[in-house]
């Protein structure tokens, strides 16, 4: 026997059990909280690493030392409407060639075809995901919700540049927008309906 374990008295045992239970219950609550903490942690992690192709949701300022004309990046635009969104949504061109550091202005056309006043929200995603942190948007319609009257169409602006620090291996970047009809969850639109 390498260790003599003295059988604890009843009172002692109760204390030990209580202590053990308290610790474990605290762990349970901590892990429940951790589950929710994963939500902001995930965002922070993706922000830093750009792993999931998410771009910043606020406007960037131009912050590049000139244009790198030795490289050309092909930026492709993809637009789609989410299931159930009866909107028209398309870019004015399918792709554009840019030099890193060069500012570009592209418009997207959106039209509300529901026959009712509606609000839409475009959500961007960049592929390959690791290029997302180098895709800088000075102005984007995706920063705001887009209210449109029935059958109203509008040209939505996007102004961007590609950071010259973009690693060499990236020659093409795809920017994809998904347009969601968020009329139901927007309180202001329900009043005007």
């Amino acid at each position: 026997m390498d260790k003599d374990k003295v059988q604890p008295t009843d009172e002692n045992l109760d204390k030990q059990v209580k202590k053990g239970v308290t610790k474990l219950v605290l762990t349970v609550f901590a892990m429940f909280a951790f589950g929710f903490a994963l939500v902001p942690l995930y965002d922070v992690f993706c922000d830093i690493t750009g792993l999931n192709g998410k771009t910043a949701d606020t406007a960037a300022t131009y912050n590049a030392d000139g244009i790198d004309t030795s490289r050309t990046i092909k930026v492709q635009f993809i637009s789609r409407t989410a299931q159930g969104a009866a909107w028209q949504f398309k870019p004015e061109m399918n792709s554009i060639e840019v030099h890193p550091g060069e500012m570009k202005f592209v418009k997207f056309y959106a039209k509300n075809e529901t026959g009712l006043h509606g609000v839409a929200q475009a959500v961007p995603s960049v592929s390959p995901g690791l290029a997302a942190n180098y895709f800088q948007k000075i102005e984007c319609f995706c920063f705001n919700q887009q209210p449109l009257q029935a059958s109203e169409g509008a040209w939505l602006p996007l102004q961007f540049y590609v950071d010259p620090d973009l690693p060499e291996e990236f020659t093409e970047i795809t920017l994809s927008y998904t347009l969601y009809d968020i009329t139901a969850s927007t309180p202001s639109s329900q009043e005007s309906d």
């Binding site: 026997m1 390498d2 260790k3 003599d4 374990k5 003295v6 059988q7 604890p8 009843d10 045992l13 030990q16 059990v17 053990g20 239970v21 474990l24 219950v25 762990t27 349970v28 609550f29 901590a30 892990m31 429940f32 909280a33 951790f34 589950g35 929710f36 994963l38 939500v39 995930y42 792993l51 999931n52 192709g53 998410k54 949701d57 989410a82 929200q121 959500v123 592929s127 390959p128 995901g129 690791l130 998904t178 969601y180 968020i182 969850s185």
Partner: protein
């Protein structure tokens, strides 16, 4: 059950006048009674979930839609998965823990007997809620047991709240059971039983309980997020509102992967108990088994994204999760080789518990190898969401976990009932199960490799022949389980009287008490040398 009470139990005197009938089972705080309740409950759930599998296999018997609507098919796959994971496998292990742990460590009962009663009795309500939703307008949950958002949020039917609350209750029950197991093992071991002298069965349940305490709350958090997304307008997983559906998968599998080991580590403990008994040798490499179990438990926390290789992860992430997943094969290999080394030059006999344990070692290894194939990222892109995955996890969960539970049931039935079970019927059950289970799951590998997707009620014509055989295997396997029911009922009602230790190679404190085990055991702790 037995009525023998030998000495007064200082911890719960109220048991000295035992209640009868229904009240006995409702109010019981006795670990053996609660273990019995858990085991019967899990067997009923096995038959319920099995009946759903029969519906699935009947629909898939031939191509085209014959028997049920696609939406009901989806409800069947979803509820089958939930019932088998949370209703059959997990409660069966908790039941075994309740029955055997106190006896194995020389304790009079679990440390928290009242909590024990509660953690069992909320389970029928959880599954009542879940099953009742199948009969409601709009039907039950139909998004797969993994309840991926947005299937479970934006596109769910009205039953999501029932699903969420059912999972909450199941989670609370598992957490309470796990807390009980941990404090029992930490505080109630007989004097002299150090951690490294505990039976391996106790070790695996100890580690499993910690896994449960760590990840079940995360599952509770996930279903809560699904609940608020669906009904209260939050946007955790809704891209339109700034959420991310891929994040659902990360949070779910952070729970889901350790959950896989929650369902297999106790099986390792069972097999490590039974193989030495019938090989009549000591378990080879006891301490390496303990360390292997702990390392598997640790690794289970850092491999979750191997379920999500096709979500568009960057290469670095795919490599990390691929290598970590493959690393799990090392401690698992240690275990398999230890079992084989235990049998090496042993004087083996092949009673039913040993047959199920041997089948476990071989078939679980097949499941482990297909898992290793799935761990390879480029290969996984082909296998993802095909029947190959279905074959893989049924090999580890049915011929792995379920077979180990059968092995345990046969091994300890004489201790529980006081009678020997019918060895003839037991072998009949084993061979029927073994042949049908392989007919059921082995062709699924080929179906998956040929590209048949999972969770579909209809399929392309070229898969027809294999599916017919799979369905026949399924029906045969389902029917074979009724043999076990007959065997257990016969064993409870009578049979050859079992000695205190019916297996001559068996070791452990549970064999030092009579068969059937008296209602109260080890009121004075035994001395461990």
């Amino acid at each position: 059950m037995t009525t023998a009470t030998d000495t007064i139990d200082a911890h719960d005197e109220h048991h000295d006048h035992k209640m009868t009938g229904l009240k006995r089972w409702l109010y019981t705080t006795n670990h053996k009674d609660i273990g019995t309740l858990y085991l019967w409950f899990s067997f009923i759930m096995l038959l319920t979930g099995g009946a759903m599998a029969m519906v699935i296999r009947a629909e898939l018997f031939q191509p085209g839609l014959q028997i049920i609507e696609p939406d009901f098919f989806n409800q069947m796959t979803t509820v089958h998965g939930l019932i088998m994971v949370f209703g059959a496998i997990m409660p069966a292990f908790t039941g075994l823990a309740n029955w055997m742990l106190p006896m194995m460590i020389g304790a009079p009962d679990m440390a928290l007997p009242r909590l024990n009663n509660w953690s069992f009795w909320i389970l029928p309500f959880a599954f009542g809620i879940l099953l009742s939703s199948l009969f409601m307008e709009g039907g039950g949950p139909n998004f797969g047991w993994t309840f991926y958002a947005p299937l479970s949020t934006t596109y769910s039917n009205g039953s999501t709240a029932f699903f969420v609350f059912a999972v909450h209750i199941m989670g609370i029950s598992s957490i309470m059971g796990a807390i009980n197991i941990v404090v029992t093992i930490m505080n109630l071991r007989a004097p002299g039983m150090t951690y490294m002298k505990m039976p391996l069965f106790v070790w695996t349940f100890f580690i499993t309980a910690y896994l449960l305490i760590a990840v079940m709350p995360v599952l509770a958090g996930t279903v809560t997020m699904v609940l608020t997304d669906t009904y209260f307008g939050t946007d955790f997983f809704n891209a339109a509102g700034g959420g991310d559906p891929v994040m659902f998968q990360h949070i779910f599998w952070f729970f889901g992967h350790p959950e896989v080991y929650i369902m297999i580590l106790p099986a390792f403990g069972i097999v490590s108990t039974i193989i030495p008994a019938f090989a009549r040798k000591k378990l080879f490499g006891y301490s390496s088994m303990v360390y292997a179990t702990s390392s598997i438990a640790f690794l289970s926390f850092i491999v979750w994204a191997h379920h999500m290789f096709t979500t568009g992860m960057p290469l670095a992430g795919e490599l990390f999760f691929m290598y970590c997943t493959m690393l799990i094969a090392v401690p698992t290999g240690v275990k398999v080789f230890n079992w084989v080394a235990t049998m090496w030059k042993g004087s083996m006999t092949f009673e039913t518990p040993m047959l199920f344990s041997l089948a476990f070692v071989i078939l679980f290894t097949i499941g482990g190898f297909s898992g290793l194939m799935l761990a390879m990222t480029p290969v996984d892109f082909q296998y993802h969401d095909t029947y190959f995955v279905v074959a893989h996890f049924h090999y580890v969960l049915v011929t792995g976990s379920l077979f180990s539970i059968y092995a345990a049931a046969y091994y300890w039935l004489p201790k529980w009932t006081g009678h020997m079970y019918s060895e003839k019927l037991g072998r009949f059950h084993f061979w029927c199960s073994l042949i049908s289970v392989n007919l059921l799951f082995f062709p699924m590998h080929f179906l998956g490799l040929a590209g048949m997707p999972r969770r579909i009620p209809d399929y392309a014509l070229q898969f027809a022949d294999f599916n017919k055989w799979v369905s026949i295997g399924g029906f045969a396997f389902g029917l074979s389980q009724l043999i076990f029911l007959v065997l257990v009922i016969k064993c409870i009602r009578g049979g050859e009287k079992a000695p205190a230790k019916p297996w001559d190679g068996a070791e452990g404190l549970e064999w030092e008490v009579d068969s059937p085990a008296p209602y109260h055991t080890f009121s004075t702790p035994p001395e461990i040398k």
